[in-house]
Symmetry: T
Subunit: 77 residues, 12 copies
């Protein structure tokens, strides 16, 4: 029997008025407030909104993967 | 520092014996029972089951996006 | 009104040092510890890590679908 | 030995001058005239033709899956 | 020399507070106000916005194809 | 009730030692020997085999769509 | 004139209660009962159903390609 | 400040009764009648119609990219 | 009758010798010179050219969506 | 132990001022100058450049597969 | 300056007469004969050939990633 | 005979602890150490690893295209 860890991937959209980079970092920081064992991120979509001729929000949709601890209730992730 | 809100996207499948439209609306209504700040939906897949030569269930898989409040525990979404 | 059940799909990555099959079964077993009504799985990505010239972990990313009970809080899935 | 049923998927395009829904239902009904064990449908493409400024045909391309009976000649599906 | 007609495809998003169907029909009707020779449509994305727990706008992104007349200035399409 | 025709799409791979074009035309001609009402084709994949440093076969995988007549047995297509 | 053989691709779903491998082999064996000249297979989708916390059916959707003989009626494939 | 040129991509479908190649060339020639600075093309879809057992039209959908001049009105492209 | 606004999506490629971010912002600013009601952008492709071992141009292909005013001629967008 | 041959796939872009066909053949011929055991090709992208209103280069991106001989150093492919 | 390692991804197809798993392991083992620092694999395509009604070769196309050492000549990978 | 240059595309992953931009530039710079005629890059995937609640590595997978010189041995690229 060689089953390893199980990881869960939640889909978040980070947003920033400044840049793509900050939108990514912001979502990771927000997730880290309540999720342990964050392990990787995958960018899935980059879009944003425009106001008065300028991008006012950069929005990056990402999968964030984290290891589910042994006893942890997957329903809560 | 201009990080904006963080949004979470959960994947639901709505089902209806009547129509695609009702399957979409049903899933949104079900999610709204327990999720605040529902903001948008994205249709990802349309399928269904057939019984006795007729579609008996229309099933629409969707991503539903909602804003995560400041203190909210992302693990619970 | 003919709205049917609503299903939720969570994204898990199973891992095994032995095989793809075991990685799939391991993730399903882990999810079943805390999620009732597990109904189907969809393989989304197959990858893995290599150490010393051999695959040391097979990793299968899957969507796992389950029926959300009437009163259940979707936020917890 | 635990091989289960084998299913075949045929690709049909239903069409209706009224709606997407009717195009789906029409193709399923037509298939059911000659195919037993119809089990599921998957929508693959939604398009249509326009005449005089209005959609005159809604066309939905779908995969229709059905169980192949033991002795049945797959060539005929 | 057997070159046939050239067609142009513009990308529109129709929206309706009622249904997917109406969102499709609305965009076609709007395009028909200013584009001759509309020939076909292709659905590319179905999404929408949610307000107060209900879909308030259904949004269907479509390609609309039309024949470019001989002398017509493609830049204007 | 405004259901229109139902069309079936079969997937063929045409092959030619000369060119892509001939591979496409060859598959259509072969299908036309036994299928009435052929209506359209969609190219899905272009590949081929190489022998002695040259492409010896060009292979084009295509969907071929045709109208299913009223009484026709879809199982035979 | 250098047109080569024409091949047809039928879409089957094999299923097994044991493994992915067996689901693949089962569908090929079932097709071979009635189709000559089977030449290749392409895996298109891997999914399955879950019962009582375990995968009870592994389902592999595949394209199976075979050469259509000269006189053969493509409608029957 | 190092912003470079902005390019616009219009989507055209070229058609020919002879060949794929001619369908591509025909659409480029048609666009060149009214668009300056045409720079590149990307093939997006290859399909066609069949009449009397032969391809009567080869249709190639392409993106055509061109540089937007400084003062040019993007609305006109 | 609850048809909402119709939006048009034009495809632009922004370019910058400095960064991805500037390529995005540059294309939005260029579009805003002649298009009112710009509402959102979707990144579709990120590529660029290399000269003398360095990226000399970062190129981001994007869809830019804007609301079509009531009387506006869609042909001009 | 039933491991078969290992194949490597290199990605090449062939180009021709004449046609798609010649771009494909040119890349295969170029690869054959230095790669033994070339076995198959897969077309991945068709694009090209435009000059003075005409396609001046047709560019076809392809995967070329070849068998890696027993002792051969994969790093060199 | 925080640039990290650069990794190269080569595309290999492993084959086995026994199973998918063995095809994967076989390609990794073959690559490991000549490539140091193999780090991960990604499955990109699963197909195979059929002979006499049975799968005679299982073929798995994979990307294999490895770290490029400081002085190493990328051309050789 | 109008065959043009042949280009090869290698797949690299650049990584940086700072930003996406730097990950892209780092991989290009690394490739330029040993590859002449680098011509373009295509971003294929953006992901990264997370440590202690922050992105510690941004990883960008890219195709890098370069012209193969007349006499050059494609095996070495």
């Amino acid at each position: 029997m060689a089953v390893g860890s199980t990881y869960k991937v939640v889909e978040l959209v980070g947003s920033s008025s400044e840049s793509l980079q900050e939108a990514i970092d912001g979502a990771i920081a927000r997730a880290a407030q309540t999720i342990r064992n964050l392990d990787w991120f995958e960018v899935r979509e980059i879009r944003g909104t425009i106001d008065d001729g300028h991008a006012n929000w950069y929005q990056v949709k990402m999968g964030l993967g984290f290891r589910v601890d042994g006893g942890e209730d997957i329903r809560e992730d």
